[in-house]
């Protein structure tokens, strides 16, 4: 089932907004994480972890879920499909993996934000800035972005089969009309 053009444009706008917002949220998280690692001021480090906790739960998580949902709508509501092309399939798998890792990781972030509030000196700086997850996450999101913009060619076996089915079905439809 393909969406009519006005609905498709609305869904595309929503999907781009949420996806770019997700990227921006991770960049903000990473920036604050760098501040948490580099700052010598205890208050700054504690504030950074509080901000990371809030950005994670109230910006990145909702944007990730919305991006995943609108991505599903865009793929299933257009001729691209979800499993027909390698770029849509890989984008979908990477988005699901990123979202799952994010949801599993956020309780750790809250734990560390709590810990930072009551820590001093060396223990506070041992907490670090969670740069591994945010850095790797940003790389994965950029890969998804590149796949979505360039749309490299390549049909999956499922896509090839579906396309052949449509080709064999369409002459019969044409003859009937």
């Amino acid at each position: 089932m393909t969406m009519p053009p006005p609905l498709r444009k609305f869904a595309l706008t929503a999907h781009v907004t949420f996806s770019v917002g997700w990227n921006g949220g991770v960049v903000a998280y990473l920036t604050i994480g760098v501040a948490a690692v580099t700052s010598q001021d205890a208050q700054t480090v504690r504030a950074a972890w509080t901000a990371m906790d809030l950005i994670g739960w109230f910006a990145i998580v909702p944007l990730a879920l919305a991006s995943l949902l609108t991505g599903l709508v865009m793929s299933l509501g257009t001729k691209w499909g979800l499993f027909r092309h390698y770029w849509t399939l890989i984008s979908f798998v990477l988005t699901v993996l990123s979202t799952v890792v994010l949801l599993l990781h956020m309780p750790d972030v809250s734990f560390l934000a709590d810990l930072a509030q009551g820590s001093e000196g060396a223990q506070l700086h041992e907490i670090g800035g969670d740069l591994f997850h945010s850095g790797l996450g940003l790389v994965v999101l950029l890969v998804i972005l590149v796949l979505n913009v360039y749309k490299p060619r390549g049909l999956t076996q499922y896509g090839w089969r579906k396309q052949n089915e449509q080709r064999t079905a369409s002459p019969a439809v044409d003859a009937a009309t």
Partner: protein
């Protein structure tokens, strides 16, 4: 992020399934190498890769996330 001016592939006119594109093979190889490196790092790092690896086993007992307070600190 599908765009309307780019059309889906219509290059499969043969009776045999298309080969896996080279870019997919390269991509798969890169992912396999990254996963392998990650597993090696997990073993080297003692099975933990998260930020909690830096934290002493004392934990954070007695502290509550700002999330639990709706953004307000206790």
């Amino acid at each position: 992020m599908s765009q309307s001016h780019v059309k889906p592939d219509h290059d499969s006119t043969t009776s045999t399934p298309p080969d896996t594109p080279r870019w997919v093979k390269v991509f798969g190889l890169v992912i396999a190498i990254v996963i392998l490196l990650f597993v090696i790092l997990l073993f080297v790092g003692g099975g933990s890769h998260g930020p909690r690896r830096h934290i002493p086993s004392a934990g954070a007992a007695g502290y509550t996330s700002p999330i639990a307070y709706g953004g307000q600190q206790p």
